[in-house]
Symmetry: C3
Subunit: 464 residues, 3 copies
C-alpha cells in the first residue's frame, strides 16, 4: 500500500462532495416539523394546547445541549490523551461528527420521521442524530491515530447507514427498547470500530509505539473529555425517553450507576498495579462504563440499587478489560484498539442489553435481542483499504504533523522506563542531549553518548 499522506485535493473534494450532497438531499427532503414551523399557532389551536411550554423544545432542549456537549467536547477531548495526536483527536472528531449528524438526520429521517414525502425536523431529530454520531465517535476510538480524515468520513457514511438499519431492526421490527442505546449505540459502535481496525491491521505498529503513550498534560486534556461525558450521561440516557416519570427515572438511574463505577474502577485499577498505583487510562475510561451499562434499562423500573449494581460490575469488568483483554485482542486477534473501546463500550454495552432484557422481562412482555451489527460491514472493508485515502505509514501513526500544521517547538520524546532508571542511579549531573533528526523514522531509540537521559527532538522535523 502506498503511504501517501498528502491530503491535497483529496480531502477537499471528499468534503465538498459530501456537503453538496447534503444540501441537495436536505432541499428535496427536509422540512420543519409543525413544532418548529410558523404554523405552530394553528397546531396549538387545533390540539387545544394552552401554553407554548408544551412545545417539545422545552422538554428536550436542555438534554439535547448536554448530549451535544458529550459528542463534541466529551468524545473529542477524551481522545486527546496521546502525546502528539491531540489536534487530530479533537479535530477529526469534530469533522466526522459534523458530517455524521447531517447524514444521520437524513437516514433516521427516512426511517423514523418521514411523512408525506418529507422528513419533519424538530429537536427530537437532533437528539437522535447526535446519538447516532456518538456511535461513530466510539468507533473512531478504535482506529485513532491510524486512519486518515478521508477514511473517517467514509467510515462515518457507512456506519451511520448501518446504524439506522440496525436500529430499525432492533427497535421497530424486534420491538426491543433501548433508550440509552447500550446496544444500538455502544455495542454497535464498538464492534463496528473493532471490525474496521481489524480490517486495517498493521503488523509493524510498534514502529510508532513511542507516540502511543501520553504525556502529563495530554492526560489532563483527556480528563476534560471524561468529566463532561460523565456529568452529562444522565441527559444522554434520558434525552429521548417519554415525558414525565420515564425521563426522570432514566436520569436518576444513570447518575447512580456512574457513581458506583467510579469506585470499582479505582479499586480494580489499584489492585492490578504492583504498587497499587492508579492508571489514568482506567480513570479516563472505565469510570464511564456505568453509563453505558445502564443505558437500556435506565428508563425501566430498575430500582436505585439495581442501578448501583450495574455500575459496580461495569466498572470492574471494564477495568479488567483494559488490563488483560486489550493486550490479548491485539496479540492474538490482531485487533489494535487504540482507545480500548471494547472495554468501555463493547463489554458494558452487552451487559446493558442483558440487564435491559432481564429488567423488561420482570416488568413487561417487552423483549430484547438480536444484534445484526455485522451485516454489510463487508462492503466497507474493500472500500476502506483502497490506497488513495491518505493513510499514515506505520511509523507515522499517532502523529499530528502529517495532517496538521504543527507549531514549531521543542518536544520531548518518550524514553523507555528502564533506560531512565539506569541513568537515574548515577548522581552525576548529566548533560541533556538534543537529537536533531530529519525524520521520525530514524529516531535512535537510545542516545549514543553516555550520561544522557533526555532526548529532545524538534517536532516539526519529523515529517517534511
Amino acid at each position: 500500500m502506498a503511504w501517501n499522506t498528502n491530503l491535497r485535493g483529496r480531502l477537499p473534494i471528499t468534503c465538498l462532495i459530501l456537503q453538496v450532497t447534503m444540501v441537495v438531499l436536505f432541499g428535496v427532503f427536509v422540512r420543519y416539523d409543525i413544532q418548529a414551523d410558523a404554523h405552530w399557532w394553528l397546531e396549538k389551536k387545533r390540539k387545544n394546547i394552552s401554553s407554548d411550554v408544551e412545545n417539545e423544545f422545552y422538554y428536550r432542549y436542555p438534554s439535547f445541549e448536554d448530549v451535544h456537549a458529550m459528542v463534541f467536547v466529551g468524545f473529542g477531548f477524551l481522545m486527546t490523551f496521546l502525546q502528539r495526536y491531540g489536534f487530530s483527536a479533537v479535530g477529526f472528531n469534530f469533522l466526522l461528527a459534523a458530517f455524521g449528524i447531517q447524514w444521520a438526520l437524513l437516514m433516521q429521517g427516512w426511517f423514523h420521521f418521514f411523512e408525506e414525502g418529507h422528513i419533519l425536523l424538530s429537536v427530537e431529530n437532533l437528539i437522535q442524530a447526535d446519538f447516532c454520531v456518538a456511535s461513530t465517535c466510539v468507533a473512531f476510538g478504535a482506529v485513532l491515530g491510524k486512519i486518515s480524515p478521508m477514511q473517517l468520513l467514509i467510515m462515518t457514511f457507512f456506519q451511520v447507514t448501518l446504524f439506522t438499519v440496525n436500529e430499525f431492526i432492533l427497535l421497530n421490527l424486534i420491538e426491543a427498547k433501548d433508550a440509552g442505546g447500550s446496544m444500538t449505540i455502544h455495542t454497535f459502535g464498538a464492534y463496528f470500530g473493532l471490525t474496521v481496525t481489524w480490517i486495517l491491521y498493521r503488523k509493524n505498529l510498534e514502529q510508532s509505539k513511542q507516540r502511543q503513550s501520553s504525556v502529563y498534560h495530554s492526560d489532563l486534556f483527556a480528563m476534560i473529555g471524561t468529566l463532561f461525558l460523565w456529568i452529562y450521561w444522565p441527559s444522554f440516557n434520558s434525552a429521548s425517553s417519554f415525558h414525565g416519570d420515564t425521563q426522570h427515572r432514566a436520569a436518576l438511574n444513570t447518575y447512580l450507576s456512574l457513581a458506583a463505577s467510579v469506585l470499582t474502577t479505582v479499586a480494580v485499577s489499584s489492585v492490578i498495579h504492583k504498587k497499587g498505583k492508579l492508571d489514568m487510562v482506567h480513570i479516563q475510561n472505565a469510570t464511564l462504563a456505568g453509563g453505558v451499562g445502564v443505558g437500556t434499562a435506565a428508563e425501566m423500573m430498575l430500582t436505585p440499587y439495581g442501578a448501583l449494581i450495574v455500575g459496580f460490575f461495569c466498572g470492574i469488568l471494564s477495568t479488567l478489560g483494559f488490563a488483560y483483554l486489550s493486550p490479548f485482542l491485539e496479540s492474538r486477534l490482531r485487533i489494535q484498539d487504540t482507545c480500548g473501546i471494547h472495554n468501555l463500550h463493547g463489554i458494558p454495552g452487552i451487559i446493558g442489553g442483558i440487564v435491559g432484557a432481564v429488567t423488561a422481562a420482570y416488568s413487561s412482555p417487552d423483549c430484547e435481542g438480536g444484534f445484526p451489527g455485522g451485516i454489510g460491514k463487508r462492503g466497507s472493508r474493500f472500500i476502506l483499504k483502497l490506497p488513495f485515502w491518505g493513510q499514515a505509514s506505520d511509523e507515522n501513526c499517532f502523529e499530528d504533523a502529517i495532517y496538521w500544521e504543527v507549531p514549531e517547538e521543542v518536544n520531548t520524546v518518550y524514553i523507555p522506563e528502564d533506560l531512565a532508571h539506569k541513568h537515574s542511579t548515577s548522581l552525576v549531573p548529566a548533560i541533556p542531549l538534543v537529537l536533531s533528526t530529519p525524520s521520525a523514522s530514524i529516531v535512535p531509540p537510545v542516545p549514543p553518548t553516555p550520561p544522557a537521559s533526555l532526548a529532545t527532538v524538534t517536532s516539526s522535523s519529523l515529517v517534511h
Copy 2:
C-alpha cells in the same frame, strides 16, 4: 509614547471607580421585574397564570446558561492559542465581560426595559447583557496582546454604549430583526474592534513576532473555546426569540448551518496548504462562521437546506479570509487583527445581515439595513491613545509576564523554520543552548554557538 506597563495604582483605581459607579447606578435605577419579585404571586393571580412554569425563567434560563458559557469559557479559551498570552486572554476576557455585563444591564435597561423610573431586571436582561458583551469579546480578539487591561475596560465602556445606541437604531427605529445578532453583535463587534486596532497601529510589531504563534498545547486550549462556542451557538441564536416555534426553529437552523461550515472549512483549509495539511487557526475559527452567518435569519422560515447553504458559504469565505484577506489588511490597511475577527465575525456577519434581509423579504415586509457602527468611534480614538493606560511596548506584546505573575519555568522559544531545518539535516546529537537573558528585548534571534537548534529562555527573566 511612553511604554510604561506598570499597572500599579492605575488598574485598581480604574476598576474601583467603575465598580462603585455601577453600585450607585444600580441603587438608583435597577429593580426586580415582577417575574423575579416577591409579588409574582399577585401577578399570577391578576393574569390568571395557573403554573409557575409560565415564569419566563423556565423558558429562558437553560439558554441563558449556554450563552454565559460561550461568553466566559468560549471566547476566553478561544483566545488562549498564543504561546505566552493565555493568562491575559482568559483573564482579561473575564475582567472585561464582568464589567461589560453590568454596564450593559444599565445601558440596555435604559433603552429597552425602563418603566416608571426603573430598569426591571429578569433573565431576559441577562441574556441581552451577555449578547452585548459578546460583541466586546469579539473586538478584544482584534487587539489581543497589544492592549492593557485599563484600555480594555475603557474600550468596553465605549463599545457597550455604542452597541446599545446602534442596536436601538437598527431594531427600534429601522425595525430590522436580528435575533442572533449577525449585525448588531458580530458585524458591529468586528468593525469596532478593527477600528480600535487600526487606531492603535504598531509599526514595529514584528519585534514580538515570535510570540504571535502558538505552541502545541496552547492550540488545544483554544479548541476548548471553539467547541463550547460551537455546541452552544444554537442557544445563542435562539435565546431571545419568541416562545414556541420561533425559538425551536432558531436552534434547528443554527445547528445545521454550523455543521455545514465545519466541512467547508476543512475543505478550504486543506486546499490552500501546499501539502493539503489543515491549519488549526482555521479549524478554531472558521468552523464557527456558520453560527454568525445564520444569526439574523435563524428564527425566520429559512428552511433547513437554506441554513446549510448559509453555513456552506460562511465556512468557505471565512477560511479564505484567514488565508488571504488578513495579511492584506495588515500590510496595506495597517489593520493588525490578532485573532482574525474580520474573517469570523465581520464577513459572516455581513452575509448574515443580507441573508436575513432576503429571507425576511420573502416572508414578510420587514426590512434590514443601516449600519451606523462608525458613529462616535472618534471619541474613543483620542482617549485610547492617551499615554497612561499602560500599553505594552512593541517587543513585549503577546507576553503575559508584563501584567501577570508568571510561574518560573524554563520555556522554549519559537525558532524560525529554516533554522530548525538547517540543523535537523545533520544527524549529530546537538547540545542544547540555554540563553539566560535579562530582558526580552535582547533575545538574540540566532544562538551563536554552532550545533544548536534549541534555545531555552528562563521566562521570568524577560521583564523585570
Copy 3:
C-alpha cells in the same frame, strides 16, 4: 509515622467495602419518588395535574446539571494548578465526589426525604447530594497534596455525616434559611477542611515547596475550573429554591454579585503587587467569592445593588485573605491551607450568613445563626492520623507519581527567583544541567556546577 504510600490492597478494599455497603443500604432504603415512578400517571390523576411539564424534573434538571458540572469539572480543575498534582486533583476529587453523593443521598434521605420506611428519590435529592459533596470538595482544597485517597474517602464519610447533622440543626431546628449554602456548604466545608489540615499539620512541608507552585499550563487548566464554577454559580444558588420568582431572583442576585467580585479582585490583586501585576491565584479563586457570599441571601429580596455590594466586598476580603491571612495562618496557627479555602469559602461564607440574617431581618421574622460545625470533628481526628492510610511523606507531597502511573517525560523544576536572577544577569549562553536523581528526597536545591540556571529532572525517577 510510617510513610508508606503503597496503596496496594488498602485502597481497593476501602473502595469495595464502601461501595458494597452503599448497594446494601440502597437496597434496603432507597426507592423512586412518585415523580420518577411508573405510577406517576396515578399521581397526575389524583392531583389533577394536566401536564407532564409539572413534573419536578423539568423545573430542576437543567440547574442540577449545572451544579453537577461545578462539582466534578469546576472543583476538579480548579485544583489542577499545582505543577505535579493534576492527576490527583481531578482524579481524587472525582473519587471522593462519586462516593460522597451516594452517602449523601442516604444521609440526607434519612433526615429529609424519609417516608414510610423508605428514602424517596427524585432530582431534588440529587441536587442536595451534589451540594453536600461540594462542601467536601471545598475541604479537599485545604489538604490538597498532603492526603492519601483512603484518607480522603474517610474524610468524606465523616464530613457528609456531619454536614447533614449540621444542616438539620440549622435549617430544621433553628429554622434558618440558606438556599445557596453560604453557611451549610461553604463555611462548614471550609472550617471542616481547615480542622483536618490542622490535625495533619506537617512541620517539614517546605521540603516539597518546589512542587507547591504552578507551571504555565497548569494555571490555565485551573482557569477551566474557575470559569465553570463562575458561570454556573447562579444555578448553584437557585437550584433548590422555590419555583417561580424565588428561583428567578436567586439566579439574578448571584449573577450580579459574581460580576462585582471580579472587578474588586482584579483591583486588590494589582494593588498588593509591587509592580501592579495580577496574581493567577487571586483570579482563579477570589473572583468566585461573590457567589459564596450571596448564597444565603440570593433568594431573598436583597435588591440588585445589594447583590453588587456583597460581591464588591467579598472580592476585596477574599483577595486580601490570600495575600495576608494565609501566610499568617500557616506560620502562627499551623494551618497549611493548600488552596486557600479559608479565603474563598470561609470568610465569604461568614459574610454570606450575616448578609442573609440582615436581609431576612428586614423582610421577615426568619433568623439565622448557630454553627455547630466543630461537633464530632474530634472523632475524625484520631482516625485520620492512623498510620495505615498511605499518607505521603513531607518531601513527596504535591507529587502525582506516588499514587499514579505518570507518563515518563522530562520535567522542569521550580527555581527560586533570586537564583534565576543571578545567572540571568550574565549574557553568556549557559549549558543546562540535567539532574538524574534516584529519589525526590535527594533533589539538590542548587545545582553544583557554575553557569546553570536550569535544572531538569526525569520526573518518573522521583519516587520508586
